[in-house]
Amino acid sequence: MKVIIIDDEPLARGMIKEYLQAYPDLTLVEECKDGFEGVKAIQAHQPDLIFLDIQMPKINGFEMLELIEQPPAVIFTTAFDEYAIKAFEAHAIDYLLKPFSKERFEKALEKWKNTGQINSMANTQKLAESMQTDTNPASHTRVVVKDANKIKIIPVSSIQYLESADDYVKIHTADGNYLKNKTMGYFEGILEAQNFVRIHRSYLVNVQLITRIDPYEKESHLAILSTGTRLPVSKSGFAKLKSILGI
């Protein structure tokens, strides 16, 4: 079985490595010092289990998980994070509070071995989502995406609009478009407070960029952005815009 450790502190990685020596069936295939390395290593090795720190440079542990299509089983390691601990408990995923004992470590591995692979995967995905939506307001200021093999951090303020594209959401910015494996409803939830309005089933727009709203066919409108982009506005979307813009 393959294991990866992702933590920015070398001593913290060393600790886990030391504890892992007691498990000959677990092979440590790579140690990563940040989420970027983590994504690459997970793709390269397809590990069975990862130990993941939360606070790390550039992208945190949850943001990293979001970039992986089918995340492996995760045991979180963290020092102190009230929000995170609440979320872990809610999703019954195991987490190790630093510093942790060897006994506690063994228990976590026991738990992982007893949980079905599919079960733990679903839980991890749910956890990552809930971390983004309700417990971590700071993470709403940016969206982390994978563009080809590069990881890009998009500040929310630079997003022009979002468009639904099958199972993905296409994020339109001045520098180009990015795809993210999320639903429109998810983005509507986290961007609501930041001037984004769902003007159409398939469009979520940054209200500040709207320069004009023109009537279009019966009961529908067109929103014209300062970039020149024209987006359809549904009947209910128009009602929302009216109440927000106060017209």
Partner: protein, 347 residues
């Protein structure tokens, strides 16, 4: 739900009580007059007009009390107010009733004969209502004050708890303990050294008081302790460069004011960039006082304007304001990819 319900009851109770009260007196009033042989229309009108007027006067008192609660001379005020109002009430009600029923000599005679009783009734009634509303509003006011006091106390307690938690820096503490735990297995000597450093640092944070002034040198020494611990945690990624001029070293500075600024710089630098992080601390004496700059690298593209990292700085700002009653002693600036915090300690 239950809260608003009881509130509704509490405010509605005097209104309902007031109505029942007047209904009772009106019926009694009518009964007395009809017992003297006054016809129905006359006794009913007398009762209604007198009591409605008096009720209106009493409402006036209640309303008056809502905005103005008499202080120490309250008993005189109550007596005087009731006296004046009952005189006016008697004159007005008598006038109206006389105008309506002046053709009936029996009634007008009783009307003028009963003046004394009417006045006494009016005086007692207004006095009673004034007294009651006085008690009612005084109680309400007292309750509001205690509630406000309670709230203020709760806020204070929360703030103190928050400060205590801040002082303890749980994130730093637990991560350091984790490093020590890791070292204990492989390099016990280093682990012991780090325990000593961490103890010295914690002792320092506990010992120093909010208003205490210490020489910059001492503060820097304390800072170095903190930086040493962070360097064990982050290894080669964290580099520091401290430059203090000879003149500046002896200047006084509020104890522990630099640590949160440097902590902010480290967090900002370490979690916002991927490469080596160089924290530069520079202190010199200028005309405006002692100036200390702390700078760290950051990524202007992805950083959300220092969001989430600004908390430590806000508390330093508050402390400086309390000490010097001045704003602008803590300023931040950005040049390319370097974030700089400038602290000025007025001489």
């Amino acid at each position: 739900m239950p809260v608003s319900n009881t509130k509704l009851l509490r405010t509605r109770f005097p209104v309902v009580g007031f109505g029942i009260w007047w209904l009772f007196w009106s019926i009694l009033h009518y009964k007395v007059l009809s017992n003297f042989g006054i016809v129905f229309t006359e006794s009913a009108s007398d009762s209604l007009i007198s009591n409605i007027l008096l009720a209106a006067f009493c409402l006036l008192i209640v309303n008056n009390m809502r905005y103005y609660l008499p202080g120490k001379e309250r008993y005189w005020y109550v007596l005087l107010l009731s006296f004046i109002l009952s005189v006016i009430w008697l004159a007005v009600s008598r006038g109206i009733l006389w105008l309506i029923f002046k053709q009936d000599p029996v009634y007008t005679r009783i009307l003028s004969l009963s003046s004394n009783i009417r006045f006494a009734f009016g005086f007692l009634m207004t006095g009673c209502v004034t007294m009651l509303s006085l008690i009612w509003y005084t109680q309400k006011e007292q309750k509001a004050t205690t509630e406000l006091k309670q709230e203020a106390e709760n806020h204070l307690r929360e703030a103190e708890l928050f400060k205590l938690r801040q002082q303890l820096q749980p994130h730093f503490l637990f991560n350091s303990l984790n490093s020590i735990s890791a070292l204990a297995g492989s390099q016990p000597e280093k682990a012991r050294h780090m325990i000593q450093q961490l103890s010295a640092f914690l002792r320092g944070t506990l010992k120093k008081e909010e208003r205490q002034m210490i020489p910059l040198q001492e503060e820097i020494g304390f800072l170095e302790l903190y930086l040493e611990i962070e360097k064990v945690r982050f290894g080669n990624r964290l580099q520091t460069d401290i430059q203090v001029t000879e003149e500046a070293a002896t200047q006084l500075i509020p104890a522990l004011i630099l640590q949160p600024i440097v902590e902010n710089a480290i967090k900002f630098g370490l979690y916002d960039t991927m490469d080596e992080v160089r924290i530069v601390i520079h202190a010199s004496q200028t005309q405006s006082g002692l100036e200390v700059t702390v700078s760290n690298p950051f990524d202007p593209e992805t950083s959300a304007g220092g969001q989430g990292t600004g908390f430590g700085l806000a508390s330093v700002q508050r402390r400086l304001f309390l000490l010097y009653s001045r704003n602008g002693l803590l300023e931040t600036s950005v040049t390319q990819n370097i974030f700089t915090t400038l602290l000025t300690i007025p001489s």
